[in-house]
Amino acid sequence: MTESGDLSQHISRRFNEDLDRVRSQVLNMGGFVEQQLAKAVTALVEGDSTLGETVARDDFQVNRMEVSIDEECSRILATRAPAASDLRLIVAIIKAITDLERMGDECEKIGHIASRLAAQERPADKYREIKHLGRVVQNMVHDSLDAFARMDPEAALRVARQDRLVDEEYEAIQRQSITFMMEDPRAIRRVIDVMWVVRALERIGDHAKNICEYVVFMVHGKDIRHVRLEDVETELARRNGGS
């Protein structure tokens, strides 16, 4: 079945502890990014400029975490020369923190826009679409990190499938925004800002999907990037049935 059990069967306990520590650091960072995302969306939806500024200011912490985890991974690679599933874990972590850092950057962007938009009149729908999209993306990030913590490839694939929902939502909001702009040219500035936010949320969804792919890679040793999800599922089902 899965190879997560292998992690606990190591000759060197210190090595194992190193891996566990760096893994929980990644999830710590993930927790912080989740919080940043939630704050950024709240700041925009509730028109809280201070909160938006706070999110933008705190992004440096995400960057700092990325650098420190990156260094830790390099140290493990250099001193322990991990192989097989351990190597995959380290590679997956190095990739995952890049995605988390990008998510942080997108949150920073949303924070900036939120504090700028707070000064302006809020639209009649009170950013209902953004609120909804924000919740979907937040759930995706949360579930992808849960899958990472549990090393659960099935859950990871379930999350990856949600990315399509986000993409559809993104398209819908885009169409709606174009209508808004045609109806009321004075709102163009605001709607463009909103489009940036929606775009940022959509990107965050993509990064969450990437993290899910690393989970599958880590557990099954199979790279599923640029492969259709259905193919991945049948392949994994075949393997699980075979073993």
Partner: protein, 462 residues
Amino acid sequence: MAPVTAFRRTWSELLRNPLDHWGFALWRVALVAGLGALVGLFVGHVWWGVVAALAIELARHLAHLHDFEDWLRRRNRRDPPDAGGLWGDVVSLVSRLHRRKQFHKQRILRLFRELRRSTASMPDGVIALNAAREILWFNRKAGELLGLRRKTDFGIHLASLLRVPEFARYLDKGEFGSSLRIHPRIGDPTCLEFQGAPYGDGQLFLLVRDVTRQEHLETMRKDFVANASHELRSPLTVIAGYLETLALDGDMPADIRAPIIEMRRQAERMTAIVSDLLELSRLEATDEQVIGQPIDVGALLAILKKDLAARGGAAHQVDIRIESPEGLMGDPGLIQSAFWNLADNAAKYTPAGGAIVLRWWVDDLGGHFSVSDTGPGISAEHLPRLTERFYRVDPGRARDTGGSGLGLAIVRHVLQRHGGELRIESVEGRGSTFSCHFLPLRLVHEPVAMPSDSRYSSSQQV
């Protein structure tokens, strides 16, 4: 030695009681050998007869041994073999041991199941963590509250699944004197309270409670206070405005004039209470630490001195002692409001001619601001409760001073938001010292340029 003594004992028992099982077995071997010899005598091969008879006896033993071994292997599904004599003894001994073990196992299992059922029915969640803060065990409620899964989540770092930064900090800090309240899913109203209880060798019991309802009630209470104060403000402004006009009206008959002046004074006091309540509810709205900007404490104290001179009432000797050039990092409006509340209190309670000292100094522990007065002092039993809202040392005096009763509560909250602390020392009859202590990381060492912020200019609220 042991086998020899055992043999001796067996032999002596055999002689004493020739018909017990061992004796019987030995007699039986002898009998079989004798019978074999007899039959062999008839056939003409005595020794062959003995050998054949003993071989039959051995086969019988082997058959019993086979039965016994078969039963041992499948003892849970089979009844013990029915064998007499020595083999029956062995079988009954072993089966008694087996039954006893089975009984203990059942008892422990029952106990364990009972324990699990009882913890499952607990209204609160319980999680046991090892020294590395990995999940060892959790009850059903904890699983429900945190979304943990029984099959997969043992051995996973709890902070990896519950990724709220405050929670990771709470676990890492290792101080479990107080509980922690967090919203596990951001944007979800669910609020959980955690209380750690360390045990054994670094392990930790974590109690989890769903406090969504309490949290909701508290928010409602806070909102109510904020809304009520806000709603009271507009009618009060109208009343105070008319009273002011009336008080300035020179044609007013003297017997009405005095009540109107008193009404105006009380309306002003009410306005002060309402604005303090509003400020307090704003402060309470969040626990987050203020970052703020550099504040020139020297300049701030100079403003406070000027304001004290302008506030009217009894005249005091006000001294400023600035012993360190460092500035303070904080929210200028909040810090000024806190310092002014302390200075104003001192002026209120110190009789005319008394001395008030405003002091700012820095040492290894951080920055300190203190207000000392030569007032009547406060007796020790009041000190712990002094920062409670509307707490009065002398309820009769409240009306004279015109305070809102919220000043020290505001000071305490402002300091909390700056990671600081309020300490009160007082000797009855000699005076009191209220001091604010700030951590070293709150200090600014470069000279501070005072921003020309309107908030600095005057702190007296009307």
